[in-house]
């Protein structure tokens, strides 16, 4: 299963593309059919406004996957640049380490709220806020890796052979830290979705009419006590499936990157 990373990747892509086929009509308000339990006409039931939860969940999933993936990739790139800059010289290393400590000393959510609020909320505020709060821990790991790499003979030799700093960063560092970066993306992805949900819940994130998994989950909180379990169960379950699929993809991708293809046979798994 892990060898064929494209299998979960394709399922994930289908999850992402399928909602484009859903017209807005499908999950619009039908007050006649409100608060219905799951049935064949409404697979995931309907909410207190009679909106079909099946289609709403898929639409929300699309937005959440988009935000999660975008932020995970952007903040991993951000960590890579920050940790590479830290290798430039001693003062730069101090500055970056200080920044990492500064961001880690504040609770994620507080920084996230501040940044998102300053940028005026919405998609832009959420994405930038998430990127700026999720880079520090990965930067720390990458910096430690790179410090070790910089001491190796072959990197020092590369300098003597006349290769510049950015050349060395790209050709020597990237192949070594790519597995760590992929792990970073896998870890940040669910984090980003959940944080997006929590700031939306607090009212600083996306607007309420944009269906995102976080919004659906936080809205359903008020109705759970009245026995409408399907409002939270299905969206939550689908989110879980997406995260598992994403991790399978990343794991498979990592394995295939680490394989040794020099003779067409595999010497390292």
């Amino acid at each position: 299963m892990t060898r064929k990373f494209w299998v979960p990747a394709i399922i994930l892509l289908l999850f992402f593309l399928f909602p484009f086929l859903i017209s807005g009509e499908r999950f619009s308000i039908h007050l006649m059919e409100k608060n219905q339990a799951p049935s064949f006409s409404h697979l995931f039931g309907t909410d207190w406004l009679g909106r079909d939860m099946f289609f709403r969940t898929w639409k929300a999933l699309q937005l959440s996957i988009g935000i999660g993936l975008l932020t995970a990739i952007l903040s991993t790139i951000c960590s890579f640049f920050m940790s590479t800059l830290a290798m430039l010289n001693q003062p730069m290393d101090r500055i970056i380490s200080w920044l990492v400590d500064l961001f880690l000393s504040l609770p994620h959510l507080v920084t996230l709220l501040l940044i998102s609020f300053t940028l005026g909320g919405g998609m832009k505020g959420v994405v930038i806020g998430l990127v700026l709060t999720h880079w520090p821990s990965l930067t720390r790991i990458l910096r430690a890796e790179m410090l070790q790499l910089q001491q190796t003979t072959y990197v020092q030799m590369s300098k003597k052979l006349g290769k510049g700093f950015w050349w060395r960063a790209w050709h020597h560092f990237v192949p070594h830290i790519l597995p760590q970066m992929l792990v970073g993306i896998t870890v940040i992805f669910p984090h980003a979705i959940l944080h997006e949900a929590s700031i939306t819940f607090l009212g600083f994130g996306l607007s309420a009419e944009q269906p995102a998994i976080g919004i659906i989950l936080s809205e359903s909180m008020q109705y759970l006590s009245s026995g409408m379990w399907w409002l939270a169960f299905f969206p939550g379950f689908v989110l879980l499936i997406v995260i598992v699929l994403f991790q399978l993809t990343a794991k498979g991708l990592r394995n295939s990157l680490e394989k040794d293809y020099s003779y067409g046979q595999i010497t390292r798994n």
């Binding site: 190796t152 003979t153 990197v155 030799m157 003597k160 052979l161 006349g162 290769k163 070594h176 020099s262």
Partner: protein, 198 residues
């Protein structure tokens, strides 16, 4: 010319390896360096090549050409001197366009170019490192136990080819080895590391 001015080096444990060493290495001079294990031969090599900063004093190196150092070190452990994630082709290309003539002189089949370093033996990898060093055409080469991983027959073959190129280019050469016979044959002058201390 490379000069060391009052160079001292002290290890973190406090052992003095070099003590106020003043030394000159003229262009084209071929020197052999001997000494007991742990006497500081490799440390001296690293300091001369700029891999290590001396505790005090300074090394005046030759001028660089386009950022490429004119003094190159052939490392004692070849497996540490190449990126394990790269194929041999890329390792050689780091020093510029691959010179097919050099590959033939050092008996490197082109099939090796697509291998990874761990698929070559230490001796084979050492030859790759020698070729990489010669490709940038340095004015000075420090060969730190360069053939210690090869059998005597291929050692002789490698040295023959190596000296052929070094003599044609009038390259300065510092050979670190435990074999006096070898040093007597290829160098003008044999130095004991203890002569440099003090």
């Amino acid at each position: 010319m490379i000069r060391t001015k009052n160079v001292s080096y002290q290890t973190k444990a406090g052992t003095r390896i070099l003590d106020h060493t003043n030394w000159e290495w003229k262009y084209g001079q071929k020197i052999g360096l001997m000494g007991k294990s742990g006497a500081g031969k490799t440390t001296l090599a690293k300091i001369l090549a700029g891999f290590l900063l001396p505790s005090s004093g300074e090394v005046i190196p030759p001028k660089e050409r386009d950022g490429v150092a004119s003094i190159q070190l052939i490392w004692q452990h070849p497996e540490q001197a190449v990126n394990p994630k790269w194929r041999v082709r890329k390792i050689l290309e780091e020093a510029g366009e691959i010179d097919q003539g050099l590959l033939q002189q050092f008996n490197i089949p082109s099939e090796w170019l697509q291998r990874f370093p761990q698929q070559l033996s230490g001796g084979e990898l050492q030859r790759i490192c020698i070729v990489r060093c010669l490709m940038v055409n340095p004015s000075y080469i420090i060969a730190d136990e360069m053939t210690s991983m090869l059998d005597p027959v291929s050692q002789a073959e490698i040295w023959k080819q190596f000296m052929h190129i070094v003599e044609a280019n009038n390259t300065g050469l510092l050979v670190i080895s435990h074999e006096r016979k070898l040093l007597e044959r290829i160098t003008d002058h044999i130095l004991d590391i203890e002569e440099l201390q003090g």
